[in-house]
Amino acid sequence: MTTHVEFWLNDRRVITDVPDGMLVLDYLRKDRLLTGTKEGCKEGDCGACSILIGEVVDGVMRYQPVTSCLTPVGEMHGKHVVSIEGLNLPNKLNPVQQAMVDRVGSQCGFCTPGFIVSMCWYMMAARETPTLEGFQRAFSGNLCRCTGYAAINRASLDLVEQFGPGGQWASIWQADDRLGALMEAGLLPGYFAEMPKRLEAIGEMEEVPRDDADVIDFFVAGGTDLYVQKGELLPRAQVKILNRHPEMKGIRKEGDTLHIGALTTFEEFGASEDVLAFIPEIQDYLHLIASLPLRNRATIAGNIINASPIGDMTAIMLALDTTLVFARGETTREVELKRFYKGYKTFDKHPAEVMTEMVLKVPAAGTGVYFEKVSKRRCLDIATVNSAAKLRISDEGVVEEASLTLGGVAATPLWLEKTGEFLNGEVLSETLWREALRIAHTEMSPISDVRGSAEYKRLLATQLLTAHVVKAAPERVSLDAMLAI
């Protein structure tokens, strides 16, 4: 593979012809001897390899944290890659580093650079003055095995004090040029000011024609599952980096229809005003689903195509009656998501087809969209069982719409067709709901595995379905009554 990728690595311009599929982590550590970025798990679960990726958006630099262990070099063209070394000031610690030192937020130190990256990013991106909770969400993808996080929380509180209301640097949150203000506050090195100009000087990537251009071993989107499963093959394989095709990104509303580009990330989905309008709690759901660095990479289409029976975003898209659009050359084809899966990890898609977008109808007013998930660890764990629901219940208690899903209780993500049919048009009551659960029960077929016994999953599925209804219509189905069964 002979693509030349040009980008800025910290304060240095880089042109490289390493394989497109090579991981940024390996490139940093092995090719550049930038060893501050650590390898902890190589599957995005520990955050020790966190870096920032910056690009020019509407004329200003926007940075996102990602795990470099799941990010291919081939996607870095025209970007600013910031490793921990690129955040260091020449002769002193920045305030984030200083707070971590003052509060002994670092013990063995192996996770520390990742934490610093996440916390610095939060200072660069926070919409309002920083809070402890904001820091905690920013480093929610970083594991520390030594401190129990208490000292890291104390360091965060120091920063809240310095940069929050009344603090020495309280004014920077009003600054139009946040990064400039952070440079002035000694939080970022001065070279960041040069980046927009530097990146704009990089031209479009020249894809050198390959001898055998049709042979693609892997299509790589976010890579968050693909690199976990095939990480050792990808650097040696012919890969097609889908993120070089920005036309497949973004959310567009046409009337009451939402068109979601296949490469839309979890985070882009959660940040969309159009989505927030009908799922106001989406950010809380996303916090359970994945860490920010993964949400910045993972695409919704990837989650669907990965076909895990417990895909969290899949559960939500399924409840929303999403239709998938596939392209093969000039031909396009539509498939309803609820008819897409044929069996465990098998689905209605030709290998040469590429999903281009997902289409769904914006739910009618008065419709609630709910998501529940239970895993061993509350956040950022793969669900034992998950469930999403789209529910509209009239003031008279009539179920006008019930689209219910379950994950982890069958070989595929499950859309509860019979249960929904049974509920639609009926007046909701505790008796009716109990009957609905009976029907839901016939639709599942869980098996025992590392995430739990079949019996547990069956029970959990019941509880999570109930949780939706209790949230949607507590006056019709009360939690106390459901607990008393």
């Binding site: 679960d45 260091n88 520390t112 959990l460």
Partner: protein
């Protein structure tokens, strides 16, 4: 004096160095390990030809290529470096590929083929015990007469208690780099808590005298016991490849291999019987511990011993009979993990007390409080409690945290809420400090003073994040009466310190700090002699040092540290000192199972509050408040970090960290996606740590106490708090003493009848089409 962690500035800038961060020497090779694909079997054939021909492969080595002895067992010689005829656990190392790149090495692993005749796989310690698969000899600690005492008890309950293992999950996986020096000499950079163990094992493997192998350790990216003994094999493998190829060789375990191939905290199963008076005095306690040792002895026998030492936790029980057997199973050899068998011992007595309290209808804490050990009372191994602070920490917790009103708040909450229930539980701890293998309680320090007044300090202690270097600097500065900025702690190196004990048993600062003090005292003795000559006085004992200045009879002189050092050099007075420390007054007689194994005990009391979501079976750990006995702290921030971090690991062990093995012995919680350690969200936002004041420890350096392990055991309180919450919801439910208390266990114990209530006959689900993977 600094209250910081000395490495923190480097850590936050990403410039601190771990084994593989040091720029690689030219021509360095990379190794990868082939592990057995089955948990037990006889090796019929190992086919390596295809892998040997794979791109980049330099060589593949098996046990037959070991030039010395193919043996690394640290206590008993039962562990080959590379298995040859018999494999005894899934992942048992069988061959090593050495290649030009790590990717080439790992790719070649996929081309290795093996024929193994499968043998029966045992994963349960009780089954192994029944079958007589016992490592070493079972041990029994006894005091008084339990049989007679049970006859006098008003309440006697019996039961079973099970506790799971725990993955260390050091963020830095196992790794080593071996570099040839000249002739048959070799230098090994290892991420080990035990450089001497690595040195000895490498020498044994290579057939060399020990002095030919130099081991150097900069720091560890976490150890927690997992690199006390189990760093050794990886260092030996790198050394083996280096010795044969003559090229530097590095071995960094992939996370999945580290999880699969290394041992963990020992799971235990136990039977207990406890007898009490109706007033709640514990009169008799019997316990049988079945330790799941895994396939090889490793450190299991020492871990087993510590289980016995802590079988009565903080309590005085006049009649005790504690039996423990190390049971050999087909899991990776389990090993040291913070607490070293102590937590498993404590979990059983706490289960027995909880069981008795429920039968008696009293709060568990009432029984706990009534039985706390007091000054002069004996532990079942004959040692008497000295400076016993079990009761002091309990009472300070009671006052500081207003336990009475806290308990009432919880009861009120539970009376008003059905959807969520709260639980509150106390957890006193008492942990003995010293290696129970008495001979290990020794350490050395080597101190060099350079003519500019700067100081180099080497000890046998390893920095693994616990803050050893920070404490050693503090100790050396205080002992020399100079500024800490003059002192640098060196890497841990076997050529500077010989025969070092592992950095373990919480004793690293005690031992190496005490040796450091002795080295400083030797230097000061020489300086006083010199100064007495220079000052023309006879009474050298009246020469003192403070703030880098010299005083005579409390009057300042014009001698400063820098002047003194420079003058000492010109006067040909040695500016280097080596000192040796051995913990006094510790011993143990294994024949009689009595002695004084510990220099002292660490005490403390924690209270934990949890909330359980009754619908979902999930929970949060809301707050932990504790009073801890640190002696006189050497570095309050570092000690606080040890307490909070230990507690976090204890909470993880009791809640979500669940090791899962399939019946065929395969680890199914095999990645960070299936084995979950606590993230920030899983831990309490409120951790209130109070240190016991006025609690000097005359036998610790500058009055301090060890801090590494004991706080982990506060985490056990989480299990009992969760149990209390479940009890509040379901007073009659059958609740097992089976940790960790995962959301699954919460749900199944709360609602096990629910499925039947909802559906008379739940359909069986064995006909599912396929595995529900990711």
């Amino acid at each position: 004096m600094t209250e910081k962690h000395l490495d923190a500035e480097l850590h936050t800038r990403g410039t601190s160095l771990y084994v593989d961060d040091v720029a690689p020497p030219a021509g360095m090779l990379h190794a990868a390990i082939y592990g057995s694909p089955v948990a037990h079997g006889r090796v019929k054939a190992l086919r390596l030809d295809e892998a040997r021909n794979a791109p980049g492969v330099v060589a593949i080595y098996t046990g037959e290529d070991v030039p010395g002895e193919n043996q690394i067992g640290p206590v008993l010689p039962d562990e080959p470096l590379l298995a040859t005829d018999l494999v005894e656990y899934h992942g048992h190392p069988m061959a090593m590929v050495v290649a030009e790149t790590p990717e080439d090495a790992r790719h070649a692993l996929t081309l290795i083929e093996v024929d193994i005749e499968p043998l029966d796989v045992i994963t349960c310690p009780r089954v192994a015990h029944e079958a007589g698969h016992i490592l070493g000899t079972p041990r029994t600690f006894a005091m008084g007469d339990t049989t007679a005492a049970f006859a006098d008890c008003d309440i006697v309950v019996e039961g079973r208690s099970d506790v799971g293992g725990q993955e260390h999950l050091y963020l830095e996986t196992q790794r080593a780099r071996a570099v040839p020096t000249e002739g048959d000499r070799i230098r090994v950079y290892s991420s080990t808590q035990s450089p001497y163990a690595v040195q000895k094992a490498c020498a044994r493997i290579l057939g060399l005298p020990t002095h030919r192998v130099e081991v150097d350790v900069i720091r560890l990216g976490g150890g927690f016991g997992g690199k006390e003994d189990q760093a050794t094999s990886w260092a030996c493998l790198a050394a083996l490849a280096c010795q044969i190829t003559g090229r530097p060789t590095q071995l960094v375990l992939h996370r999945l291999d580290d999880l699969r191939m290394t041992g963990k905290r020992h799971p235990y199963s136990a039977d207990y019987k406890i007898g009490l008076s109706k007033e709640g005095k514990i009169l008799a306690f019997e316990v049988k511990h079945f330790q799941n040792a895994g396939a090889k002895t490793d450190l299991s026998l020492a871990v087993l011993e510590r289980t016995l030492f802590h079988s009565t936790n903080s309590y005085f029980i006049p009649n005790v009979r504690a039996y423990a057997a190390s049971c050999r199973t087909n899991l990776p050899p389990n090993t040291a993990f913070r607490g070293f068998g102590g937590p498993q011992g404590m979990f059983v007595i706490e289960s027995a007390i909880a069981h008795a309290a429920e039968v008696m209808g009293v709060d568990r804490s009432e029984i706990q409080k009534k039985n706390l050990i007091q000054e002069g009372q004996s532990f079942p191994y004959g040692q008497q409690a000295e400076r016993a602070r079990a009761r002091r920490t309990w009472e300070e917790a009671e006052t500081n945290f207003e336990i009475g009103s806290w308990q009432k708040e919880i009861a009120d909450y539970n009376a008003k809420n059905a959807a969520t229930k709260k639980g509150l539980a106390a957890m006193p701890i008492c942990f003995g400090i010293s290696f129970t293998a008495t001979f290990l309680n020794q350490a050395s320090a080597l101190m060099h003073v350079y003519t500019d007044g700067s100081v180099s300090l080497s000890t046998g202690g390893v920095e693994m994040g616990q803050g050893l270097s920070s404490k050693l600097v503090r100790i050396a500065a205080q002992a020399l009466r100079i500024s800490p900025h003059r002192i640098k702690v060196e890497t841990t190196n076997t050529t500077r310190i010989a025969n070092m004990s592992p950095s373990a048993a919480s004793a690293t600062t005690d031992l190496n700090g005490s040796a450091t003090i002795l080295a400083a005292e030797e230097l000061r003795r020489r300086f006083r002699e010199l100064l007495a000559r220079e000052l023309g006085v006879q009474d050298a004992e009246n020469i003192t040092f403070e703030d880098e200045k010299v005083f005579y009879c409390d009057e300042p002189t014009d001698w400063t540290w820098e002047k003194l050092v420079a003058h000492a050099y010109l006067s040909r007075v040695s500016l280097s000192a080596h000192a040796f420390f051995a913990t006094p007054n510790v011993w143990f007689d294994k024949q009689k199972e009595t002695g004084r194994p510990f220099a002292y005990h660490v005490f403390g009391t924690a209270w934990t509050e949890v909330t359980v979501d009754m619908l979902r079976g999930t929970y949060t750990v809301d707050r932990v408040r504790l009073v801890h006995d640190l002696g006189r702290t050497l570095n309050e921030n570092v000690d606080l970090g040890q307490i909070e971090g230990g507690l976090a690991q204890g909470i993880g062990w009791m809640t979500l960290e669940e090791l899962a093995f399939a019946e065929d012995g395969r680890l199914t919680s095999h990645a960070l996606s299936t084995y979950k350690a606590p993230d920030g969200d899983a831990l309490p936002d409120e951790i209130d740590v109070r240190l016991l004041e006025d609690a000097d420890n005359p036998v610790g350096p500058f009055g301090s106490k060890a801090v590494g392990e004991p706080p982990l055991m506060y985490g056990i309180g989480t299990f009992f708090a969760l149990r209390a919450a479940l009890r509040a919801a379901a007073p009659e439910a059958e609740l097992a003493f089976n940790a960790p208390m995962t959301p699954e266990k919460v749900m199944m114990q709360l609602h096990h009848n629910r499925l039947r209530t909802l559906w008379e006959t739940p359909p069986t689900s064995t006909a599912a089409p396929a595995a529900a993977g990711e």
